[in-house]
Subunit: 251 residues, 2 copies
């Protein structure tokens, strides 16, 4: 079970400073406080402070990051909210189940990522997420305000925390043995970079049209939630394959 | 089960027009559309339209009312949101249970009433409600934005509607027999006026300090949810008692 205080709310490139303030307020009403802002268009801003309305301590502690990876440093469970349908569907859960999933987390840190007001998350950003969170909404008008979406997720998190810990649906992992910990998101991201390079080198991946392949692989690995030991093992395999490719090219 | 389209969202004296627009948007994302505005400070207003952001059809259909009774005309189930603790506690349920309660409603119309941004609902307004809805929140900062509260309630209503009808916890009432219908709120309100007058006439009620007594009685009757036939019966009793009091005074 994760302390509400430890859950990160990550806003990717919010364009309206008022939404940042309203999101801070929504978080605080539900007991959350760790706000991460990835490349906000206008921040700090008087409108953000005005709309925070008493939650200015959350704003004051907010961290501004250059990119999503920076905001996810140290995080082991990433959930991304998204209203858009995708060509390749990501494992998708509703807010209640997302909160239960975070509540079941036995260690590490969790983040919920919210996309841009107009365009949401890019595919590349969504690929950093273990789950896509979809808020059920009116099919003819599903455009929730950013802060309203933050409010709903934080509300479900607070209810789940109140209900207490539930069984972790993923295999039990010893908290005592650091080698058995989930990999941090940045480690998985480095693995993906390594994987893509290796696949190109062994001429399995066509760099001209690489995307769908990597997305399918990321979806697979994200669903399993890799342990740190597993990431190291997989990267060892990649290095071995790269060595063979280099030898094959006469390197 | 009540159609989402039939559930009224009633905002009592909202002071910020932006909140009205944001509430309309929150409603529409969850499939609700019937907005009632009781004495809004500034409406219509450009800020309301701007924040509605595509939900302007909900705004266009919104009804502006002089007082809460007007907004509740025809309603048989009233729920009032309130963060404030009261000297006399009202039956209080969380949003999820409120949505289930409305979902279990077999006929008639339902309204969820939201109070002023700063001061909420008055005691007199809360006394028109069968239940008080309390959103569980951070005890140190429970100040949800008005539109955020509307979003949470509409979200729970949409989930409950999606889950389908549940058993009505109140006694079954024949929908065919109009005499067995729940009383409308305005009929109950007239009964309360009658009750208070009668209690004063029979010298049970001290007009100098009447409030706690009437509130206790209203709490009792609201909890039972009166049928129309029962209201008529009770008023008949009151009239009989008043006649006795008048005779006693030598009338």
């Amino acid at each position: 079970m994760i302390d509400l205080e430890e859950i990160r709310i990550v806003l990717v490139a919010p364009s309206h400073p008022g939404n940042i303030g309203a999101a801070a307020r929504a978080m605080k009403t539900m007991g959350l406080s760790r706000l991460y802002l990835v490349s906000p268009e206008s921040y700090p801003h008087a409108e953000a402070t005005a709309r925070a309305s008493g939650a200015d301590d959350v704003l004051a502690r907010a961290l501004v990051c250059q990119d999503l990876d920076e905001a996810l440093r140290g995080v082991t469970l990433v959930l991304g909210t998204s209203a858009r349908a995708r060509s390749l569907e990501w494992p998708t859960i509703p807010p209640r189940q997302a909160a239960e999933r975070i509540n079941a987390e036995s260690g590490g840190e969790a983040a919920i990522v919210f996309g841009r007001e107009r365009s949401g998350l890019t595919n590349s950003e969504l690929e950093r997420c273990h789950y896509r969170v979809h808020i059920p909404a009116n099919p003819e008008y599903s455009s929730l305000n950013l802060a309203a979406a933050v409010q709903l997720l934080c509300y479900e998190l607070a209810l789940a925390a109140e209900a207490g810990p539930v069984d972790d649906p993923t295999p039990a992992i010893s908290e005592e043995d650091p080698r058995e910990a989930y990999a941090e998101q940045i480690e998985v991201e480095r693995f993906y970079v390594h994987l893509e390079a290796a696949l190109a080198e062994i001429e399995f991946l066509d760099r001209e049209n690489p995307r769908q392949l990597m997305r399918r692989l990321k979806r697979l690995f994200n669903r399993t939630r890799l342990l740190r030991t597993e990431v190291n093992l997989l990267r060892g395999i990649l290095t071995a394959a790269q060595r063979q490719a280099k030898l094959a090219r006469g390197g």
